[in-house]
């Protein structure tokens, strides 16, 4: 066992964990933040996407211990206390989710994409989503929502 202290959404969370504990398990079990989902647990689906120092990563393929000393941001950390962020509002407006399981990962990937200035057109957004799988929507409305969210965020 080892003591791991993580900065998640600006709050410190400390726990005694097995070195095998994955970041996604720490986020869900130790910090109680269950917005981050475990879809495949094999680096395929991206439902577990969080930000490490602002960069989108698959938290099922990072050990919790590796995240020590870095800022972890989860879906809870990008949602305002009441209402929705512009990107979340765009997902709602464009009906970009059906079952919703992949949505937190989609939002976290899309935010990274938008902040890097990479969400420029449909093709770029589709390429940017290669690490996130959705089994319901066929992606059409997700892509539309990300483009609309990017425009809304650019307007500030």
């Amino acid at each position: 066992m080892m003591r791991v202290t993580l900065d998640i959404n600006g709050r410190e969370h400390a726990a005694e964990v097995d070195p095998r504990m994955l970041l996604v398990e720490f986020v869900r079990r130790c910090a109680g933040l269950t917005g981050t989902h475990v879809g495949c647990d094999t680096s395929q689906c991206g439902a577990c996407t969080v930000h490490l120092d602002g960069i989108a990563v698959k938290s099922c393929t990072v050990f919790a211990a590796q995240a020590e000393g870095h800022a972890v941001t989860t879906i809870e950390g990008v949602s305002p206390d009441d209402g929705l962020s512009p990107l979340q509002a765009a997902f709602k407006e464009h009906h970009a989710l059906q079952c919703g399981f992949c949505t937190p990962g989609m939002i976290m990937s899309a935010l990274d994409m938008i902040r890097r200035g990479a969400a420029t057109d449909e093709q770029a957004v589709r390429a940017g989503l290669e690490g996130n799988l959705c089994r319901c929507t066929g992606y059409q409305n997700i892509v539309a929502a990300i483009l609309a969210g990017a425009a809304a965020m650019a307007e500030g």
């Binding site: 647990d41 094999t42 680096s43 991206g46 990072v62 000393g69 390429a127 690490g131």
Partner: protein
């Protein structure tokens, strides 16, 4: 996953000390291959030595005829680097096509090369560009580095610190990606070096990256796609699996090599 001990040394010397210890210690770079294989119990290291806190292992340096990429540089950083895009655009494009954006945000060039996955992209660039693998103690030419399936010239505990790429006159990488993983079913890297030498390296098609000397000789005589028209690669020894037969892969090598040469022109 089997239990292991986690270490995060602050220096190369400390890392090498743990890696020289008893048991089966392994270095951990980006973890994009190692963590999944540990989950599948295909690897069961006694200790993981996380290289992330060691200073000086990331970044790209530009010299007149060489690009140096430090071992812990992420694929996303190589893909986005203005220096790489300007001087070896084929290398930036290759890095930008590995896995998916989330994998590229974690995976490192040193980790990819040390792992030497038979379908990884980077080994083909290193071999075709005649790059040098720099470790703490020596420099290993690309031709001597890749030994076989997941096997390299690295000694146990020997860490890559940098990869030095000579800037070529022209280069291009073409791959037929597995649509799910984006590993190469076949990938072909063609480079015309500054001294005029032509090197063609193939990944994905066999147990280890390899050069196609017959293509290189033909392209040295005439660097045009047509130079390969009468040549083919034998299917013997190539990989056959659910993604493609050996004969299909042999055919793809010719097609992708021609595409890459056309792209260089």
């Amino acid at each position: 996953m089997h239990p292991y001990r986690y270490h995060r040394p602050g220096s190369l010397a400390e890392a090498e000390e743990v890696l020289a210890g008893d048991g089966d210690p392994r270095p951990l770079a980006g973890g994009m291959s190692l963590i999944p294989v540990m989950k599948h119990r295909l690897a069961a290291p006694s200790d993981l030595v996380d290289l992330a806190a060691i200073g000086g292992l990331t970044g790209i340096t530009v010299e007149p005829a060489t690009l140096g990429i430090r071992a812990m540089t992420r694929h996303a950083a190589v893909a986005a680097s203005p220096s790489v895009r300007e001087r070896i655009p084929a290398l930036a494009a290759l890095a930008g096509g590995i896995g998916d954006p989330l994998v590229r945000n974690r995976g490192t060039i040193g980790g990819s090369l040390a792992n030497n996955d038979p379908a990884a992209c980077y080994p083909s660039a290193v071999l075709a560009l005649d790059a040098e693998i720099v470790t703490a103690g020596r420099r290993i030419p690309a031709d001597n580095f890749f030994l076989g399936l997941f096997e390299t010239a690295l000694e146990p505990g020997e860490l890559i610190v940098e990869v030095r790429f000579p800037v070529p006159a022209a280069a291009s990488y073409r791959k037929f990606p597995n649509p799910a993983s984006r590993f190469s079913v076949v990938g072909v890297f063609v480079a015309r070096l500054a001294d005029g030498a032509v090197r063609v390296a193939v990944t994905g098609a066999g147990p280890c990256v390899f050069r196609v000397k017959a293509f290189e000789r033909a392209l040295a005589a005439s660097f045009a796609p047509g130079a390969l028209a009468d040549l083919s690669v034998a299917a013997d020894g190539l990989t056959s699996d659910i993604h493609g037969s050996a004969a299909y892969r042999a055919h793809l090598i010719g097609v992708l090599a021609e595409d890459a040469v056309a792209d260089c022109a």
